[in-house]
Amino acid sequence: MSSGIISKGARQLVDELQGGSLEASKVFETYRKRINELTKLNAFITSLEYKPNARKEGSLYGLPLAIKDNISTEGIRTTCASLMLKDYMPPYDATAVAKLKAAGVSILGKTNMDEFGMGSSGENSAFGPTRNPWDIERVPGGSSSGSAVAVSARLSPAALGTDTGGSIRAPASFTGTVGFKPSYGYVSRYGLIAYANSLEQIGVIARTVDDAALIFGVIRGKDRFDSTSTDAKPVSSNTGRLFSGGHFKGALLPQLSDLVSKDVREAFDSSVAKLDSEGIEFAEERVEELELALKSYYVVACCEATTNLARYDGVRYGPVADPSRDWKSAISESRTMFGKEVKARIMLGSYMLSSGYYEEYYLKALYIRRNLKLRLLKLSESYDFIYTPTMPVLPWKIGEMIDDPLQVYLSDALTVIANLTGAPAISIPIALKKGLPVGGQLQGRYGLDDRLLELAATISGLLKFRGEPSI
C-alpha cells in the first residue's frame, strides 16, 4: 500500500483523504518512513513527527508537505542552512505556512538549501550538499535543493520553495519536477527569511502543474503583514494577449542560446518542434535589455543581502556575541559563522553600496532592471509566454565547479529574468538527456499567474514527459 501512497500526487491524495479512503496519519507515516530511508539524499535539515491537524474541514486536510528551511515555522527550528541560525526557533509562522496549516496541512519537515538561498546547486549548505536522486553524485540545483529532491524522490507530495533568481525553477529542472515562481507580491513574504527582498517569492515545487496550482491557490493573496502583497487581478485592458481558441504564441530568445550546452539545446529544440507541430506558434525575438540582466541581478541581490543579513549579530539568537567583549569584535566573531558564499556576497554588496560606488553599481542595476521590465511587459502584449530552457546545462557533479564560481553564477542567466521583472515563471520537465532531466521555462505576464498555469498544464500534456528517478 505504501508504494501506492507515494505514487499519488497532491490533488489525488487530498481527494482520497476527503473521501475517507485514506487516513492522514497513514499518509504522513508512509512519507516519514521513506524520508528516514533516504537520508543519504540529505533533503531534510529537520524532519518532524506526525502532528494531527485539527482543521478537518480544510481544503488540504491531511496533506503532508515539506517546507524550505528559510520559511519561518513557529516552534520548529528554521536554519536557512546556516550555522548562524542553527538553533533558531521562530516565535511565529510565515503567512504561507499559517495558511497551509489552516487548510489542514501537516508539515513533514524543513528542507535543505543553499545557505540563505545563495547558490544554484544545493552545495552551499552548512548541513552538507543535497544530492540529486537521478544521480547522487550530481547536484540537484538550488537553492531550494531539498524541496525539489523531496518531491522528485517521493519524500513529499509537494513542497514550498523560494525563488530569488531561479531557486525554485533551477532545482525543479535538475530533478524533473515542476517548479512555479508566482508574480512578485502574489504570495506574502511575511516570515520568508530575506536574502534579496525585491526579487524573492515563495512558490511551489510539485510533481504536476495541477498540484502546483492547488497549493498556490491556498497560499496566495494579500496579507496585512506584507505591504507588497496583492490580490490584484489585472484589469482587462492590461491583460495582454487573449486566448483565442487554444491558439498560443510563444517568444523564443535565441540570443541566449550561446550560453546553452549542446545537450540542453537539443532537448529544448525538439520540444519546440513538438509544440510547433501541435499548433503552438513560435517567433524569435531579440531583447537588447537582456545583455546586462544577469549582472544587474547580482548587483541588486548582493546589495539587498548586505542589509538583510546585517541583523545576524549574535545578540539575540545565533552564535552568542560575547557580552564581555567590545561590540565590534564580538559581533565580527559571531559573523564568522556565515559560510564563504554568504560572506562574499555580503562584502560585495557592502562595497557596491558604499559612497561613490552606489551610483556606479546599484543605481545602474536599477536602471537596467527597469528597462528590462518595460521591454518584457511590451513583449507580453504580442505573446502568451516566453519559452527558454530553465538551466543552460545538465546537473554537474558535486564539487566539480568549486574553483569556478563564476560559471555557477552564469547558470542563473535564464531564470533571473523573471525575478528582475516580477513576472510569473514555471519550469516543467521536458526530456531526459544522458539519464538526467531537462526543464523548459515558461514566463508569463505579470499578474497572469492563473493563465500561465493553464498554459503550462496544456504544454506538459503535449510534451508527455514521464519519468521518475529509480531510487
Binding site: 511565529y92 516570515g191 530575506a194 539587498e304 542589509t307 557592502s350 552606489y358
Partner: protein, 458 residues
C-alpha cells in the same frame, strides 16, 4: 555656527511606525512591548502606520515646509546594540530618496529666520541601559520597548549663532507641537536633539543625544567655551562626535577617531512609497490649528480686524470653523471672521462647552445670510440652534426683514447725519443706507414707508 537635528516622537499615535505594538511603553518592564517586526526577527516585514504620515505632515506644515509629492523610505546601515536589524528605516534626500517635506522656516522672537532643510520620518531605536552607569558597566542591556516608535526628524540649517537661540527654537517648537495635538511636553524624552557646532576656523563637532531645550543651551554653552579655549591655545578643533553628560555638565568625546560614517543608504523595498496628494495635504492644513502666531497671521492676511483676529487665533475651535468656511471662498473672509469672532462667539458663550462639530456648510449659510440682511436677531436664534445641534431650516434665517424696525434702527443711527439734508435728498440718503444693509427689500414699499415716517417726524 550651530545647526540642530531634532527628533520628535509622534506621541499622538497609538501604535508604532512599522508594527502594531502599542506606543505606551513608558514605565513598562523591559521587552514587554515588542513583536517580531520591532525586534527585527528573521522574515518580519515593516508595514507603515498611515496615521504617522498625517502627523508628520502636520509638523511639516507647522514649520512652513513644502511637503513632497511622494514619500520613500531608505535603509541606513550601521551596527549598534540598540538597532535590532542593524539598519534603521528612515528617509533620505539623496540617491533618489525624498524626505517627507523640505525647505521650511521658523522665526525667532528677535525676528531671525531659521531655515529648516528637511523633515523626515524614521523609527526610534531601542534603549541601552548600563548597570551602574555608562562608565561602569562592561556590557549593555537592551530594551526594545521603544524600538520602532515613530519619529520625525527636523534638520535645520546652521543658522543659530547663540546657544540661547537654539533653546528658544526648541521651546517654541515644543509649544507649537503641543498646540497641534502632539503633546510632547507630557512625555519625557519625546524631544531629543543632536547639535552641530563650529566656530571660526574649527571643524564641525556633533553633540549627540541632548534631551530638551534647557539642556541644549547648556551643552552648546559648554561646547562654545571649550572650542574657543582650544582656539586661543592654538589647538585645532577636529571633526568629532561628542555626547552630553547631563549630570557632570560636560561633553565627552565618543567616537573621535571615526571618519565620515559609511551608512550605505539604499531604498527600503519592503515599503511602497506613499503618495501625498494635494487633497490630503489641504485637509491636514485645514484641520490643524498651528500656533497662536500662525493663526493670527492667517486671520490678518484675510483682513480680519485686529481684535477679532486675536479672538479667533486664541480659540482653536473658532479658528477651525473660520478656516473651513473661508477655505472654499476667500472673498468675504474678513466679514465671516468678524461675525465668528463677535456675534457667533457671543452665542457660543451662552452654551456650556459646545462641541461646534455641526455641519459647517449650514453654519456658512447662516453667516452669509446675516452678512447680506444684517438681521441680528434672526442670526442669533439660528446660531443658537446650530450650536445646540438642532437643524436650522433656511426660512429661519433667509431674509424676511421687518421694514419698520429697519427704518427705525436706521433713523436712530443716522439722525446726526441727516440734520442738514432736506426733502428728497434726505429720503434718498436713508434709502441708500437701508439698502446697503439689506438689498433684497421691496424698494417701492420701503420708499412709501420711509416717506410716511419722515413726514411724521416733520
Amino acid at each position: 555656527m550651530i545647526g540642530l537635528e531634532v527628533h520628535v516622537q509622534m506621541v499622538s499615535l497609538k501604535s508604532k511606525l512599522f508594527c502594531a505594538c502599542p506606543t505606551d511603553y513608558r514605565g513598562k518592564p523591559p521587552n514587554t512591548n515588542i513583536c517580531p517586526i520591532c525586534t527585527g526577527l528573521p522574515g518580519a516585514l515593516p508595514v507603515l502606520n498611515i496615521k504617522a504620515v498625517e502627523e508628520g505632515l502636520k509638523i511639516a506644515l507647522a514649520l512652513h515646509a513644502e511637503p513632497s509629492t511622494a514619500s520613500y523610505f531608505f535603509r541606513k546601515s550601521y551596527f549598534y546594540p540598540d538597532l535590532p536589524k542593524n539598519f534603521q528605516i528612515t528617509q533620505y534626500d539623496k540617491a533618489g530618496g525624498v524626505p517627507l517635506a523640505h525647505d521650511g522656516h521658523y522665526t525667532l522672537k528677535n525676528g531671525k529666520t531659521i531655515r529648516i532643510e528637511r523633515i523626515h520620518m524614521e523609527e526610534d531605536p531601542g534603549r541601552i541601559y548600563y548597570e551602574g552607569g555608562r562608565g561602569e558597566s562592561r556590557f549593555s542591556l537592551v530594551d526594545y520597548n521603544r524600538s520602532g516608535i515613530a519619529l520625525v526628524e527636523i534638520v535645520t540649517s546652521p543658522d543659530f549663532t547663540e546657544p540661547e537661540e537654539a533653546r528658544e527654537f526648541l521651546e517654541l517648537l515644543q509649544k507649537n507641537l503641543d498646540e497641534i495635538g502632539i503633546n510632547v511636553s507630557e512625555y519625557e524624552g519625546s524631544v531629543r536633539c543632536d547639535a552641530n557646532i563650529s566656530y571660526a576656523g574649527g571643524e564641525r563637532v556633533e553633540v549627540k543625544n541632548i534631551s530638551g531645550a534647557t539642556e541644549v543651551e547648556k551643552a552648546l554653552r559648554y561646547e562654545s567655551v571649550r572650542q574657543r579655549n582650544m582656539a586661543t591655545r592654538g589647538v585645532k578643533v577636529r571633526r568629532e562626535t561628542r555626547s552630553w553628560d547631563e549630570r557632570r555638565r560636560i561633553t565627552i568625546s565618543s567616537r573621535s577617531k571615526e571618519v565620515e560614517a559609511e551608512y550605505r543608504y539604499m531604498p527600503e523595498e519592503d515599503l511602497p512609497p506613499v503618495s501625498l496628494n494635494q487633497t490630503i495635504i489641504k485637509n491636514i492644513a485645514l484641520n490643524m490649528r498651528g500656533s497662536f502666531e500662525d493663526r493670527y497671521r492667517v486671520c490678518s492676511k484675510y483682513g480680519v480686524g485686529e481684535e477679532a483676529a486675536k479672538r479667533l487665533a486664541g480659540d482653536p475651535a473658532l479658528y477651525t470653523l473660520f478656516m473651513s468656511i473661508t477655505g472654499a471662498n476667500e472673498m468675504d473672509a474678513s466679514r465671516v471672521g468678524n461675525v465668528l469672532a463677535n456675534e457667533f462667539a457671543f452665542v457660543v458663550k451662552k452654551h456650556n462647552n459646545p462641541s461646534l462639530s455641526g455641519d459647517t456648510s449650514s453654519l456658512e449659510n447662516i453667516i452669509r445670510a446675516y452678512i447680506r440682511n444684517g438681521d441680528r436677531s434672526r442670526f442669533i436664534s439660528a446660531a443658537h440652534s446650530w450650536v445646540s445641534g438642532i437643524p436650522v431650516r433656511a426660512e429661519e434665517y433667509k431674509p424676511k426683514v421687518d421694514i419698520d424696525t429697519l427704518i427705525d434702527e436706521t433713523l436712530e443711527k443716522e439722525m446726526k447725519n441727516i440734520g442738514n439734508l432736506e426733502g428728497k435728498r434726505r429720503l434718498d440718503y436713508l434709502m441708500g443706507q437701508i439698502l446697503k444693509v439689506s438689498s433684497q427689500l421691496n424698494r417701492k414699499e420701503l420708499y412709501i414707508k420711509l416717506q410716511k415716517k419722515l413726514e411724521g417726524l416733520g
